[in-house]
Structures are given as C-alpha cells and as structure tokens.
C-alpha cells in the first residue's frame, strides 16, 4: 500500500487557487519578483562596468531625476508611455492583440506635423491645437480601425496585420520626411516653427510639459471610467472573456470590435500628437521608438487598470533613463536599458503564476493523511 502511494503523489503538484488570494499577498509576491529582477540587473551591470551595484542605482536615480530639467523630461516620457498604454488597454482587454501602436503613433504624429508645417500661418494657438488634436485622433483611429474591420468581418489575424501596419506607417513617415525635408539633403524634418512656436504645446505654470501631464492624467481618469463603468467598457470585457457569451447576450460583436479598435488607435494617435507637438516638435521614423511595444507590457502588467499603469510606466521610464545615464557615463550604448527591462518583465510576468496557482511539494504529512483515508 505504502509503495503505491510513493508513486501516487507527484513530487510537485500544481493547482489553481480556489479561494480569492488576499491582495497584500499578491502585491508582496510581485514586489519580491521585482526585487529579484533588480538584484539580477545590478549583478549584470556590475559585471559590465565593475561598479558597486548600489552606486549604480544612485547614478540611475541621478540620471532620471538629477536636475529639474531631467525630472521633467522623465515625467514627459512617462506620460507618453502611459498614454500609449491607455490606448492599448481597451484593445487588449477585448483580446484584440494590437501590436500596431507604433504605426498609430506615427500616423498621429504625421497629422500633427502636417498642421505645424502647412497651416502655421493661418490659425492661432487654440484652434491650431484643437485641429491637431482632432486630426491626430482621426489618423491614429483609422490606422487602428483598418485591422479591426478585417478582424470583425473575416477574422483576419490581427497580430500580424497590426504589425505590418507599423512598417507601412514607418515607410509613410519616411516618405513625409523626404517630402518635408528641412534643410534639403539632411534627411530630417528639423524642428518646426522654432521661432514662432506655432503648434507647440504652450507653457502652463511656467512648465513646458505641464500640458502633457494634464492631458494624459485626464485621459487616465476617463479611460478608467470608460472601462469600469460604461456599457461599452462592459461589452469590451465580455467580448474579451468569451465570444460566445457576447453573441448569446445579443451583443453586436463586429461593431464592438470596430469601435474598440478605433478608440485604441485614436488614443495612440494622441500619443503621436504628444510626441510631435508636445515634445520633439519634429517627426522622424523613430518618433515612436519602440514605445508601442513597451506599452503593451505596461497595459498587460497593470491588468488594464489605468491607475496601476501610472506606477508601471514610471518604473519602466525610470529604468530607461537610468540605464541611459549609466551607458553614457561608461561610454556604452544605451540598448542596455532594453535588456534590463526585458529581465524585469520576465520576473514580474512569471510571478503571476504564483498568484494564480498553488505549488505543493510532496511531504510526509500528506502521505499519512492519505494513508488514513485509504
């Protein structure tokens, strides 16, 4: 009997957690994973630059928040990443894998740059801002809607569709860069309206980037309400969880898909508006710069909660700025920040397993219990 039991129970047993897991325990598991990742990152940085890991993080902190200007650039970039993540949240919540944020950002950026370059003599600040805002929403939204339409009508694979739309957007941007080239032969657009500052975000409270913060934070609250309390947000959740349930509940699934992909693209278009009008005042093929991919992870790790996204994008941007600082101090290239970001993502994503599942090791006690039962 006992010999049988030895084989009856595997060494490791995994089961889904039955009772809801307390929030503080889940948070502490995530915090532990993050800590482990940061330790590993410190070890890697140490191996490369032979610098005391604690000093590394001090240097990273200086890189991100060292001066007033740096702090505002960090905040600006954080808002940008947050904005993209906000855009991706509804699509991903619907299980529509929108990998095309890069392209949607670029289209929003192209629309804004178009206004800055071609309409700068005709409009005053406020109507100009509004027009750029609306046009970037439309441009980004349409770029998001195209794969959405095909997904809704024919179930076309949206992962690759949106991805390919990125490259088409990149080529389109390259086309416009060649068209708007300034000075000619430089293959860049150059800072537009540097003297008149037409189409630039106006300074608020003496801060150039205050408007970015206000705009994105308002968007954060709106997205939270939209996803949590609106009828459309509920439809998104149902379509994401189960298509059949949505159909059974007589939801117009194609309509929900198309509407959501438009909204998703539109918010990413706003991010393009932020990047062009509120930050760089120019456009290039690297205006999106891979942030459309990073934002997916932000949205995913935050479980589509806009307020959690604030924290996660702050963490990722801090790491990014910090790693760039380390790289420039030691004359290395700043791709190291992506490497560190990847490690952190692996750990935090892996830790979700220990929140959702229970891992039990074989123990003597349990055997006794089973033996009694038998």
């Amino acid at each position: 009997m006992t010999t049988d039991l030895k084989h009856a129970e595997p060494f490791i047993r995994i089961s889904k957690r039955g009772v809801p897991f307390p929030v503080w325990k889940a948070m502490s598991i995530r915090a532990l994973a993050l800590l482990a990742a940061l330790v590993l990152c410190a070890v890697i940085i140490f191996a490369i630059v032979k610098l005391n890991p604690l000093k590394v993080y001090v240097a990273m902190f200086e890189g991100a928040f060292g001066t007033n200007k740096r702090m505002w650039v960090t905040i600006r970039d954080m808002m940008m990443l947050l904005c993209i993540a906000l855009g991706l949240a509804p699509a991903f919540k619907m299980r529509f894998w929108n990998i095309g944020a890069e392209g949607q950002i670029l289209l929003g950026g192209i629309a804004s740059a178009f206004c800055m370059i071609h309409l700068s003599g005709y409009l005053s600040t406020l109507p100009m801002m509004l027009l750029m805002f609306v046009l970037s929403i439309v441009a980004g939204g349409i770029w998001g809607l195209i794969p959405g339409v095909f997904k809704a009508k024919w179930g076309t694979n949206e992962t690759l569709f949106t991805l390919m739309m990125n490259y088409i957007a990149i080529q389109l941007t390259a086309y416009f860069v060649a068209l708007w080239e300034n000075p000619i032969g430089s293959n860049t657009v150059g800072v537009s309206n540097a003297r008149t500052k037409i189409g630039w975000f106006p300074e608020l409270f003496g801060q150039a980037y205050a408007l970015n913060v206000i705009l994105v934070l308002v968007l954060t609250v709106l997205m939270f309400i939209y996803l949590r309390y609106s009828k459309q947000g509920y439809e998104i959740a149902v379509v994401g969880e189960s298509l059949n349930t949505a159909r059974y509940a007589a939801m117009n699934v194609p309509k929900v898909i198309m509407r959501t992909t438009f909204i998703s693209g539109a918010v990413c278009g706003i991010a393009g508006f932020l990047a062009v009008s509120g930050a760089s005042h120019t456009i290039s093929t690297s205006t999106a710069g891979g942030r459309g991919f990073t934002a997916i992870i932000v949205a995913w790790l935050a479980k589509f909660n806009p307020f959690a996204m604030i924290l996660i994008s702050a963490l990722l941007i801090f790491l990014d700025k910090g790693a760039i600082e380390i790289a420039s101090r030691y004359n290395l290239n700043n791709h190291v920040s992506n490497m560190l970001m990847g490690i952190i993502l692996f750990f935090v994503m892996g830790s979700e397993f220990f929140i959702d599942y229970q891992v039990k090791f074989r123990s003597g006690k349990q055997k006794e219990v089973q033996a009694c039962r038998n």
Binding site: I14, S15, K16, I48, W97, I99, F150, W154, G155, T156, N157, T159, L160, F161, L163, M164, M165, Y167, I168, Q171, L172, A174, Y175, A178, L179, G290, F293, T294, I296, I297, W300, N331, L332, N333, H335, V336, S337, N338, M339, L340, M341, G342, I343, L345, F346, M349, G350, E352, F353, D356, Y357
Partner: protein
C-alpha cells in the same frame, strides 16, 4: 536579364534569413506555442554566433575556417535554444501569456544583441566596430567552379552553404511534421493537448522540445544575417527585427508548411529588393515602394482569412497554455 538575376539573387539571400526563422517558428507553432519572440531569438543567434568567433579570431592570428564555422553555428544554435528555453519556461511551465512573453523576449534580446553588437569591441579593448572577416568569408565561400558556369547556374550555385542548408532544413522539418509518428504526436499536441495527454503523449516534453529546437533553427537565420547578409559586421538599425517579424508572417503565408515557405521566402525577398531595381525612382517614391512586402503580407493575410480553407488553418490549440487540471 542580368538585373532579373541580380534581383533573384538578392531575394534568395533575403529569403534565406526569414526561411530559417519561419521554419523554426512553424515547429513551435505546431506544438501550440505562438512564439512572437522569433525576432529576439534571431537576434540572440546572430550576436552570440558573432561573439563566439570574435573571441576565437581575436585570440588566434590564423583561424581555422572550419572551426570558425563550427564555433559560430554552435554558439548561435545554443544561444537561440536558451532564448527558446526562457520562452518555454515562462509560457509552458508558468503559463504566462504567449504573445506578451514573446514581445518581452524580443525586447530583451534586442537590447542584449544591440548592446553587445555596439560595444563588444570596446569592452574587449579594441577600436571601432566589430568585424569577423575570416569567418564571414568562410560562410560566403561558394563552389570553386560556380563562377565559370552560365549566369543563371552561377547564381543558383554561387551562394554560401547556409542558403542550401535552409532549404534542406525546411524540407526536413516538413517531412518530420507530416510523415513521422513523432511528428503526428507533435501535431496532436498542437491541435488538442488534452486529447494528446489522454493518449499518453508527454505534452510538456513535446512543447518544450519543439519550441527550443525551433528556436535553435530560427537562431541560425540570425547567424546567416550577420555572416552572409551583412558580411560579418553588426548593424544596429534593427534589420534582424524586421526580418524576424516577416518570418512570423511567412508561417501564416505558407499555411504552416515549411516546403511552401521556401518559395514564399524568396518571393518576400524579391519584393523587398524590388525598389532597388526599378530605374529612376526618386527617394520619396522609393520609400513608398519599400512598403511592398508588408502590403503583400497584409493582402495574403486577408485572402487567407476570407477563403478559410481547412488545410490553411492554424493548429487549434495555438496560443493557449495547457493546464492538465483545467478541462
């Protein structure tokens, strides 16, 4: 005529990179694992293969060509398998979402590869960019008599050995998946892991092996890119990543059949280089022409989804983590 041959040649070079990528990815997807980390895995294969021979060439004034090739291929394959192992552990054992994990892997590996590609030489105390001339020449060596043949044959036989290896691997994987009993088991795992498990197939083992070996094959694509395509240097403008995504697209284009992927890959390659062979293009219209491979991919995706033929459907269990107790 000579331009057409040149275009075909450029297309085959380009196609070979994505053929490795898509063959490996097909193997993983047949086991139900949608690995969007392919660009990252190709990055890993490329950079680690390059690093391996870089150190070998640095420490040996007269490197042995055969050894160069063996070192490069072993390093690339193992690094890519390691990348696949990270993906497998996260998605198969820890059941994370495959799409997000794949993207994370691509971010990580892209950072890793571009970091070392850009600063390896400086870290090793050298100046300027990394370059492995001897190994690259060994990879690009063609048959000695190929040059004397008529132009078409000279082109077809004039590639480095990895071009032909890619075709062989694609045909082998195709045969393995469709004509062997292990391949049948593999397909069962990808279609319905629950049923496969009940039939006594070790689902986890199949998933792990298919994903890791598939990653290894994809990694060779990265190595080919570095050694043949860019001639033994590192280009950090994200070339591998673009090709990696096209490799993922090629899997769908080929309908999960590597033998169809062969000509698909060459077609993609020719579309990619077409702008170069059309006379009198301005730079603006050139940029628009470069959209072509991506536009064609989209058209293919749409047509495939409209026709809905049964043999072109993805494995039914693609992208879904398997948990035995959940059915």
């Amino acid at each position: 005529m000579s331009e057409l041959i040149a275009l075909l040649q450029a297309g085959i070079m380009f196609g070979t990179v994505i053929l490795y990528g898509s063959t490996g990815e097909t193997l993983a997807e047949k086991a139900g694992n949608l690995n969007l980390g392919v660009p990252g895995i190709m990055y890993l294969g490329g950079i680690v293969g390059l690093m391996g021979v870089f150190f070998y060439e640095m420490n040996n004034p007269e490197p042995n060509k055969l050894l160069c090739i063996i070192i490069a291929m072993t390093c690339a394959f193992l690094a890519a398998v390691l990348g696949g192992l990270i993906f497998s552990f996260l998605t198969i054992t820890l059941r994370t979402n495959q799409i997000v994990t794949g993207l994370a892997l691509t971010i990580f590996a892209g950072g890793f590869a571009n970091f070392f590609g850009g600063s390896l030489n400086r870290l090793a105390g050298g100046v300027g960019q990394i370059s492995v001339a001897t190994t690259s020449a060994a990879f690009r060596a063609s048959l000695p008599f190929a040059k004397d043949l008529p132009p078409v044959l000279a082109m077809l036989l004039g590639f480095g050995f990895m071009v032909y290896l890619a075709v062989a691997v694609a045909l082998f994987v195709d045969w393995f998946i469709n004509r062997t009993s292990i391949g049948l088991n593999l397909r069962a795992v990808g279609e319905n892991p629950g049923t496969a498990d009940a039939a006594g197939i070790k689902v986890m083992l199949y998933k792990y092996l298919a994903t890791c070996i598939g990653a290894g094959i994809s990694g060779l694509g990265g190595l080919f890119y570095v050694m043949d395509y860019t001639k033994g240097t590192w280009d950090s403008d994200g070339g591998i990543e673009r090709l990696g995504w096209l490799a993922v697209a090629l899997v769908i284009f080929s309908g999960w059949k590597p033998r169809k992927g062969i000509w698909g890959a060459y077609l993609f390659g020719m579309l990619f280089w077409l702008f170069f062979y059309i006379p009198d293009l301005t730079r603006r219209s050139m940029e628009l022409f470069k959209m072509l491979p991506y536009l064609v991919t989209i058209i293919v995706l749409v047509v495939v989804s409209m026709r809905r033929r049964r043999e072109n459907e993805p494995p039914a269990g693609l992208g879904i983590p398997y948990f035995r107790e959940e059915r």
